[in-house]
Amino acid sequence: MSNNRSSRYKDKIFQGMGITATFSCILILAIFLGFIIYQGIERLSWDFMVSLPSRFADQSGIYTAWIGTLWVLVLTTVISFPIGVGAGIYLEEYGKKNKLSTFLEINIANLAGVPSIIYGLLGLEVFVRLAKMGNSILAGSLTLSLLILPIIIVSTREALRAVPKTIKDASFAMGASKWQTIWKQVLPASFGGILTGVILAISRAVGETAPLIVVGALAYVPFAPTGPFDEFTVLPIQIFNWVSRPQHEFVINAAAAIIVLLSITFVMNGIAVYLRNRWQKKVSW
């Protein structure tokens, strides 16, 4: 390849393009977030957090929405955490290299790519109709659990894979059984990584809107839910509802609710990143 002046030019031009592209993205993100804060921060108050939804924008609050989100968050965690980690352990530690495990792998990769709204249709038929749970928090949480299972399984497997084989061999050599080795050695060593994956998956579930709309989470719920069989709404749906209204006051409400939703998402992701870094530092064989 000849290295004349023009190819050096191209080099510089592309470097410029790269910097521009990267910083444009970050700039756009900053503009978006700045706009949200500018629009919504004044509306954010204690009253806004503890008020029920109302026809009047200035009296409306997000109490039912964030209580609903909290319920969904807890239930989804309780359901998806053991199942996802269990499946991950099975595939990584027990699964033999046979047709079934290849099929499971393709299937999970596939599920991870299924649009979230399709999970909503599944939840609507299976949980809401067949299991007769109605438009309840439980039906919504089960739907979201299925949605995030592939994410948890994949991240669990990655975390387990990072545990050196020598640790397992040493445990086996001491006479430990397979499960004892997994429970006493492999899981403690990989727990940080597993937890990181679970938190990231749950934070995704908290931001999901479409599947919950399909399973019948409501735009307007007069009272905060008190149990898993109550009807409910969540923050993203409340935001969607307010954004869809023409009056500017409701848009302000939406912006304020977005600040709350983004705070939850960012805090969860922050915790996940912190755990990942801490865990990477601590475990070194």
Partner: protein
């Protein structure tokens, strides 16, 4: 002791098998409800009729307008995400100083964790008014603005997948290229990108699949008017947005209108299923192996 081990293994296996049940469940419910739909609407009408008006008194069940809406927003999103995402991936991998990259990557990832309903807000409240400055005839609801915002959302997805592919190319190839006197640009485009091409193609296919299935951005900012058009300035409706629209209303269980969301759903599922499998196939078949 032996028994306990066996029980635990079975329990864990059950967790793993749940994923297969999920897939079967999805395919089954989509098929059953869609078959119910096609008993009342001919599949030829479904595929060829140019009107989609199941909720009006004058009913038509042609999926084409929803497909064109989905195609349009997906095309715009990919036209934004692919070039920008790839440029960023190549820049971060070949040009950016290491410390710089360590700061920039997490910042870009933030774009990927923002919930989609928030992107919908951005599209409707910021991007559409902004675009109106340049395109005065742009409607308040349109395909252009949600398409662009969807593209921005997918950028970190494309850039991080492509970057993974680029960084798995062994350094010796890069060094050999530099040794021949190539510039970084030549190395990137004549050595690194071709060597990582299968991974980059996979990232593009998965990005398309994401864009097709994306719901809230288009439900908020694209309007709810199914139209067979490729004009990005007027209101349209995608398959996903239609499902949301029906779910928001009170459509009774078992009616034809109820079944339309499954007919729309199975169409959506078929597209993403094919794309996901192609990407999986490419990944396993064409994964470049270096020693």
């Amino acid at each position: 002791m032996k028994l306990k081990e066996k029980i635990i293994e079975k329990l864990l296996a059950a967790c793993a098998l749940l994923t297969i049940l999920t897939t079967i469940g999805i395919i089954l419910i989509l098929l059953v409800e869609a078959i119910g739909f096609f008993q009342e609407v001919s599949i030829v009408d479904f595929l060829t009729d140019t009107q989609w008006t199941p909720l009006f008194s004058q009913k038509s069940y042609g999926i084409l307008p929803l497909l064109s809406g989905t195609f349009l927003t997906t095309f715009i999103a990919i036209a934004v995400a692919l070039p920008v995402g790839l440029t960023i991936a190549i820049y971060l991998n070949e040009y950016a100083p290491k410390r710089f990259k360590m700061v920039l990557k997490p910042l870009l990832e933030v774009l990927a964790v923002v919930p989609t309903v928030v992107y919908g807000f951005f599209a409707l409240m910021i991007v559409t008014p902004f675009l109106k400055n340049f395109i005065p005839e742009l409607s308040g609801f349109n395909a252009l603005s949600p398409g662009i915002v969807m593209g921005i959302m997918i950028i970190p997805f494309v850039s991080s997948l492509s970057e993974d592919a680029l960084s798995s190319v062994p350094n010796s190839l890069r060094q050999a290229s530099f040794g021949m006197g190539s510039t970084k640009f030549q190395t990137a485009f004549r050595v690194m990108v071709p060597a990582a091409s299968s991974g980059i193609i996979v990232s593009a296919i998965l990005a398309i699949s994401r864009a097709i299935g994306e719901t809230m951005i288009v439900a908020i900012a694209a309007g709810h008017q199914p139209r067979l058009t490729l004009d990005p300035t007027i209101p349209i409706e995608t398959i996903t947005a239609y499902i949301v629209q029906v779910s928001m209303g009170d459509v009774p269980y078992g009616t034809l209108a109820y079944k339309t969301i499954f007919a729309a759903g199975i169409t959506l599922f078929v597209f993403t299923f094919i794309l996901n499998n192609i990407s999986y196939w490419i990944r396993t078949k064409y994964q470049e192996k270096y020693e």
